[in-house]
């Protein structure tokens, strides 16, 4: 199976930041050192790669999950940052028997608190096609008379009503973007809960969902509310035109 670079399949109107030219083979004398996959630095970089992929390739009909981090190396590039080389095995939570391999490069920029890590991915193998499910979801939402509103997905007991599972998976796409944009070597984020979601009807062909997402950050253990707007279209994929950390948490 020839490798398919992720992101090639979708013509993105989304504003990806231009990548700085990286010195081939890494800067002055920096070799990539092997990292134990069980140690946290590799795990954090892998999480960023998966979240980025969720943003690129996720949708209401599929949710990617890291099954195993098989190999990790790190290269310290002078004046640039730390680059992680990862070999991942991924699965679709809705189709667990099928796994897919992915190699990823995650570059955390030196000293930068404001720029997102650069992620490049190559996926070997095919992810399940969700064209049918995507179209059905799209038509269902478009034909709703009242805009969809929901909260607490999952609820306190971990329940997600089946008809809200696609919304849950779209929240992963939205949180995938936010997590990718806000990750550093000292963070590890997961989507803890969709606190609130409201569909906003549009005049164009996109679906719009305004989310309040709770993101759990593992190192600080904080659960942080984020307001995120997600635009999604079955062929064009996802875009996050705006996102911001919401007000301070409760007492």
């Amino acid at each position: 199976m020839s490798p398919v670079p992720c992101g090639d399949a979708l013509p993105p109107p989304r504003p990806l930041r231009p990548r700085p030219a990286l010195p081939a083979g890494g800067g002055s004398g920096a070799r990539a050192m092997e990292l134990p996959p069980g140690h946290f630095p590799a795990a954090r970089a892998a999480a960023v790669a998966v979240e980025y992929l969720r943003y690129l390739r996720g949708g209401p009909g599929s949710g990617l999950r890291l099954r195993e981090l098989q190999r990790a190396r790190r290269q310290d590039i002078d004046d640039v940052g730390h680059k992680y080389y990862l070999e991942l095995e991924l699965e679709d939570v809705l189709d667990k028997d099928r796994t897919v391999s992915c190699t990823a490069e995650v570059l955390y920029h030196l000293g930068s608190k404001t720029s997102a890590p650069d992620v490049q991915l190559t996926v070997q193998g095919e992810l399940r096609s969700t064209e049918e499910a995507d179209k059905e979801f799209y038509n269902r939402i478009r034909s709703l008379e009242k805009e969809l509103v929901a909260e607490n997905i999952p609820d306190s007991h971990g329940n997600v009503p089946p008809e809200l599972e696609p919304i849950h998976l779209l929240a992963w796409v939205a949180s995938g973007y936010v997590i990718w944009q806000n990750s550093t070597e000292n963070t590890k984020f997961h989507l803890a809960q969709v606190k609130h979601v409201k569909q906003v009807k549009r005049n164009d062909e996109d679906l719009q969902f305004d989310f309040v997402l709770l993101l759990h950050e593992m190192v600080s253990q904080e659960v942080l509310p984020w307001e995120v707007t997600l635009l999604w279209h079955p062929q064009r994929g996802a875009r996050v035109p705006q996102s911001r950390a919401a007000g301070a948490g409760s007492s």
Binding site: G38, P154, S156, H157, G158, N159, S220
Partner: protein, 373 residues
């Protein structure tokens, strides 16, 4: 029309029952009336009935059960239900189980520990706690399951029955009751205790940063509003102090396991320093065995290692203190899952999680029994 026949047409003279979707209602009525077919409405709104049934099912799964056999282990429970469970377990097994009150929380809730013992005096013991971080609901739920499992094993003379011949087991299920109550009433994502200290702007201390091992060092926060606030001084939290006092006065605890979620990890000291624990090799090998046993049941993958290399630097943590007290087999578990549901693990995963974790715990307990120190 999408008609759903609940009683299909069989022959002339027999009735037919049809569930009619709302949008086809007028059309069906018109057709029946025009054809002179009489009908009556059995159920006005099927969806309403289903919704009511759903609510009722949820309610009845939380109705107070009369014994630990009918108790619903596949659901999350309130603190009252868990405390009631404990009393029932003791009442049903008075020769094996007793309930100790080791202290009171900030909000004056009793801190209960179940003691499982077949006799002896101050036998070498194993300690297990769950729920020290209140939002980690699968842990308290697993603790309830463990309690019942110990009793069952003993009754059937299998599993941990052999361990109970020479050792006692102490199990604190709701280690942070104030926080737990708060997750039910107010904030499902609450982690800390509910203490208010002089000069602190915010409520609560992280009970897993409040222990006297590297207290206040990097890996905890001095800001009371932080989720990893270490508190004003070690053991400032009664939930922590009561365990410290218990461990010290018992003096014969040989294995100490503190259970958290989520991440699927088995961790051993240290969290506050990169210096390897003197027993690191043995703890690492024991972890490998425990994780293999856990994985054998449902294939759940766990990673393992020291706290500081595997997850993050953390100071003032429970098992760093217990290890420094000389309790060699000190472990922290992070149970299911790896982030898909996180703290909000579906209730149907409670029992599988408890079952697999129990296999790992047994490996640790058996090792402690077989390696006396």
């Amino acid at each position: 029309l999408q008609l759903d026949f609940w009683l299909a047409p069989r022959r002339l003279g027999l009735p037919v029952d049809i569930r009619v979707p709302f949008r086809s209602l007028q059309a069906v009525k018109a057709h029946l009336e025009a054809s002179g077919v009489s009908y009556s409405i059995m159920i006005e709104d099927v969806q309403a009935l289903l919704d009511e049934e759903q609510t009722e099912m949820l309610r009845s799964s939380r109705q107070r059960s009369v014994d630990t056999t009918t108790f619903n282990y596949e659901a999350y429970h309130t603190i009252d239900e868990i405390y009631n469970f404990m009393d029932m377990l003791v009442a049903e097994n008075p020769n094996l189980v007793s309930k100790l009150e080791i202290g009171r929380s900030t909000e004056n809730r009793p801190l209960y520990v179940l003691k499982f013992s077949t006799g002896g005096t101050n036998r070498p013991a194993i300690w297990i706690d769950t729920g020290i971080h209140s939002r980690e609901w699968v842990t308290q739920a697993s603790g309830v399951w463990f309690a019942k499992k110990i009793v069952q094993d003993h009754a059937n003379n299998e599993g941990v029955a052999s361990i109970l011949e020479t050792m006692d087991i102490f199990l604190e299920i709701v280690t942070n009751p104030d926080g737990f109550a708060y997750t039910h009433t107010t904030n499902r994502m609450w982690r800390k205790t509910r203490s208010r200290h002089a000069g602190a702007i915010c409520v609560g201390v992280d009970p897993n940063r409040n222990w006297d091992a590297g207290f206040g060092d990097a890996g905890a926060s001095g800001n009371s509003c932080s989720e990893t606030y270490h508190g004003p001084y070690p053991n400032s939290e009664p939930e922590v102090k009561s365990i410290v006092d218990f461990v010290k006065s018992h003096g014969n605890i040989k294995a100490f396991v503190s259970i958290h979620s989520y991440s699927q990890l088995l961790l051993y000291p240290y969290g506050y320093t990169e210096t390897p624990a003197p027993d690191e090799q043995e703890l690492h090998e024991l972890s490998a065995k425990a994780v293999a046993a856990l994985s054998s049941l449902y294939g759940t993958k766990f990673k393992y290692g020291s706290i500081i290399t595997t997850i993050y630097r953390a100071s003032g943590s429970t098992v760093d203190w217990t290890y420094n007290q000389g309790i060699k087999y000190s472990f922290t578990f992070e149970l299911r899952d790896t982030g898909r549901y996180g703290f909000l693990l579906p209730a149907k995963q409670i029992v599988p999680t408890a079952q697999e974790t129990w296999l790992a715990l047994k490996v640790i307990m058996e090792h402690a029994r077989d390696n006396i120190y």
